[in-house]
């Protein structure tokens, strides 16, 4: 299975939200990493067929998804960034409704709903109205609905928002498990979501796809740019003003700053092994999400 994007752009007024993205995706988990407003969600929406490219083509196995129409949507599972629901529907009814939308037969839907409710740990809450659920529970219903039709292309936009750490690990493992024979696209700004499961990471900035590679290669690429520096309390502001500073770790013997910089930030600085948070900081001058 091959999902291909060729010169895909999306323009809103005079703003280019996605700028000429070209790439190929095959079975496995792909992590889309980017700051807010980088174009991740817009790209995800185009891949989920709820938005159309202003220019360019998205194709599945060589066929334009806009020509495929319902056939493409039949193999698609989509968890949008913001979970929508009908307040008056119970969890079970809501999933039955989505099952109808996905064209599942009544019996098949019943079995699949029971299975997925078990998987997202909501079997006990199936009769609860959607409006009464907590944010995390709604997110789990969202995950269940995306998986209802056993999709070959699964698109999940910020899927772990609102989940507790245990649920996040459970969800990551689930994605890793099912990704062997399907394409899973996961958009996040929480790097730990994709650190261990992503086959490749796609880094988006200002609507453009600026990097696409395995996590290892991406990290290797900035290996010489991550430093550990011993500093005093008084020196921290000056480092923060001059460099991208990651973790600040207080130890008995002093303070350790993790700094991302192409040049050595201090004589006592030493190179340290890179992680994905460093990668995020390297590309995005913002605070690390988790």
């Amino acid at each position: 299975m091959k999902l291909k994007l060729e010169n895909v752009s999306k323009v809103f007024g005079d703003k280019k939200a996605v700028d000429n993205v070209t790439t190929e995706l095959t079975s496995g988990v792909y992590g889309f990493l980017g700051a807010n407003g980088s174009g991740k969600t817009t790209l995800m929406r185009m891949l989920a067929a709820v938005s159309m490219p202003t220019s360019g083509v998205i194709s599945l196995n060589g066929e334009d998804i806009s020509d495929m129409g319902a056939r493409y949507r039949d193999v698609l599972g989509y968890l949008p960034q913001h979970i929508g629901f009908y307040k008056s529907f119970s969890v079970e009814k809501f999933l039955q409704y989505i099952a109808s939308l996905k064209g599942l037969e009544k019996r098949e839907a019943k079995e699949r709903i029971a299975e997925l409710l078990e998987m997202v740990n909501l079997s006990e809450s199936k009769k609860v109205k959607m409006g009464k659920l907590s944010g995390g529970m709604k997110q789990r219903v969202g995950i269940a609905q995306a998986l209802l039709n056993d999709p070959k292309v699964l698109i999940v936009d910020e899927p772990t928002a609102g989940l507790d750490p245990k649920e996040r690990i459970r969800f990551r493992n689930l994605l890793a498990e099912i990704a062997s024979d399907r394409i899973v696209l996961l958009s996040t700004h929480i790097v730990s979501d994709i650190e261990y499961i992503a086959k490749e990471i796609l880094i988006m900035k200002d609507g453009r796809l600026i990097q696409k590679d395995t996590p290892q290669n991406l990290m290797k690429h900035i290996a010489s740019n991550v430093w550990s520096v011993d500093a005093s309390d008084a020196e921290i502001p000056s480092y923060q003003a001059s460099y991208k500073v990651g973790n600040i770790t207080r130890r008995a013997e002093g303070i350790d700053l993790r700094i991302i910089s192409e040049k050595k930030p201090a004589p006592q600085a030493v190179n340290v092994p890179v992680n994905l948070e460093d990668l995020y900081l390297y590309y995005f001058d913002e605070e690390v999400g988790a």
Binding site: R45, A48, A49, V50, S51, M52, G69, A70, R73, D74, L76, Y78, P80, H82, I83, G84, F85, Y86, K87, S88, Q96, Y97, I98, S100, L101, K102, G103, K106, Q145, N149
Partner: protein, 377 residues
């Protein structure tokens, strides 16, 4: 459950439709039951029912004279019994009915003159229209008298209570059919699902049409029930000209025939309005905008007519064929109205039917056109 059933469920589980329905039905009931007792009318009219005769008219006038003698100087009818009050007015009622016969004859004579004038001018289109009008008037027979409060009220309910009930319930019930999904965020799931575009569009349209039918059936049954309970079943076979509003109507129909026609047209226009509201809902950014937009679609013709008072202008002529006026129906039948198509006069009810069908077809076409291109905001 099929998508159609889900869509129906979503429409019918809206509490506001029941609140609006109960309020309006309550209003109709209050209005109907807060009237003077008309049982004496029914009793007296039944005694006088049947074909007109000069003798009957004379007898009624004599009765009127006798009762007038009983009245005090200020002519206070309070001194008469309920039955006597009805008998007192009978002469006038019969005279009105007799006038209907004369009006039909006079109309024929007037039309003959106008036809001659138009022929002299060489206005073929006008001649065709007038000849058609004359031909229609020649079939009107208004020569029998009967008690007819019930059919008169039932027929009148269509363009008053029925119009408001259908319009409001459609606006309230259908404005959210697409916009609620956008507001709630469920639109994302729907548009990315296999059946989330054309199939669900069909389900929504069918559900909207079935809901519209249910709305019309509810108020019609209620109206028939209330008016039959109050005024009985007499008069349904009388010509519609016995209702004051249709005094000048060239349509030869009994109340029964006309009411069937009325309900058919009302329903057709209601279905077309439902289709238009579905489109408004689809293109609206929020449920409130959809509600407002749907309200404007329904209320605009009434607003223009009542607020701007354009009684004979081209706007008014155009608005005759607005969905709201077609739903009212009476405007198409009260007088002779026609439109020339290729030199042939086409009478207003046919235009009403054609406009409704065209709007309905366009609504379905554009709903499909928009749904395949729909994107999340």
């Amino acid at each position: 459950m099929s998508l159609f059933k889900w869509e129906l469920k979503k429409i019918f589980q809206q509490k506001t439709i029941y609140i609006v329905a109960v309020f309006l039905l309550g209003f109709l009931s209050l209005n109907a039951f807060d009237r003077e007792d008309r049982s004496a009318n029914r009793e007296v009219y039944r005694e006088w029912a049947g074909p007109f005769t000069a003798g009957k008219l004379e007898k009624a006038n004599k009765l009127n004279e006798e009762l007038t003698k009983k009245l005090p100087e200020n002519e206070d009818l309070g001194v008469l019994s309920a039955r006597e009050r009805v008998e007192y007015g009978l002469g006038e009622t019969l005279a009105y009915s007799q006038n209907s016969v004369d009006q039909a004859k006079n109309a024929m004579a007037r039309l003959d003159k106008r036809i001659k004038k138009a022929e002299a001018k060489g206005d073929d289109s006008a001649v065709s229209k007038l000849k058609l009008e004359k031909q229609m008037f020649s079939k009107v027979e208004v020569n029998t008298f009967a008690y007819h409060d019930a059919p008169q009220e039932v027929v009148d309910t269509v363009n008053t209570f029925g119009l408001v009930f259908s319009g409001l319930l459609l606006v309230v019930g259908l404005a959210g059919i697409y916009s609620n999904e956008r507001s709630s965020g469920v639109e994302n799931y729907i548009l990315s699902a296999k059946n989330g575009r054309e199939k669900i569009m069909r389900a929504k349209l069918y559900a909207a049409f079935l809901y519209s039918l249910a709305v019309v059936v509810v108020w019609e049954l209620y109206s028939l029930g209330v008016w039959t309970y109050l005024y009985g079943t007499d008069g349904w076979n009388l010509p519609i000209q016995y209702s004051f509003k249709y005094y000048f109507s060239p349509y030869s129909m009994t109340f029964t025939e006309y009411h069937f026609m009325q309900m058919g047209l009302h329903l057709l226009a209601t279905l077309a309005l439902a289709g238009v509201i579905v489109i408004v809902s689809m293109i609206s950014r929020s449920s409130m905008i959809a509600l407002f937009g749907a309200g404007v679609v329904f209320g605009f013709p009434v607003f223009v007519e009542s607020m701007l008072g354009m009684e004979d202008g081209w706007v008014n002529k155009l608005l005759t064929y607005s969905l709201t006026n077609i739903m009212k129906v009476e405007g198409l039948f009260m007088n002779f109205k026609s439109v020339s198509l290729l030199g042939m006069p086409v009478i207003a009810p046919y235009i009403g039917i054609a406009v409704s069908i065209i709007i309905l077809a366009l609504a379905v076409y554009f709903t499909r056109f928009l749904i395949v291109r729909k994107q999340v905001a």
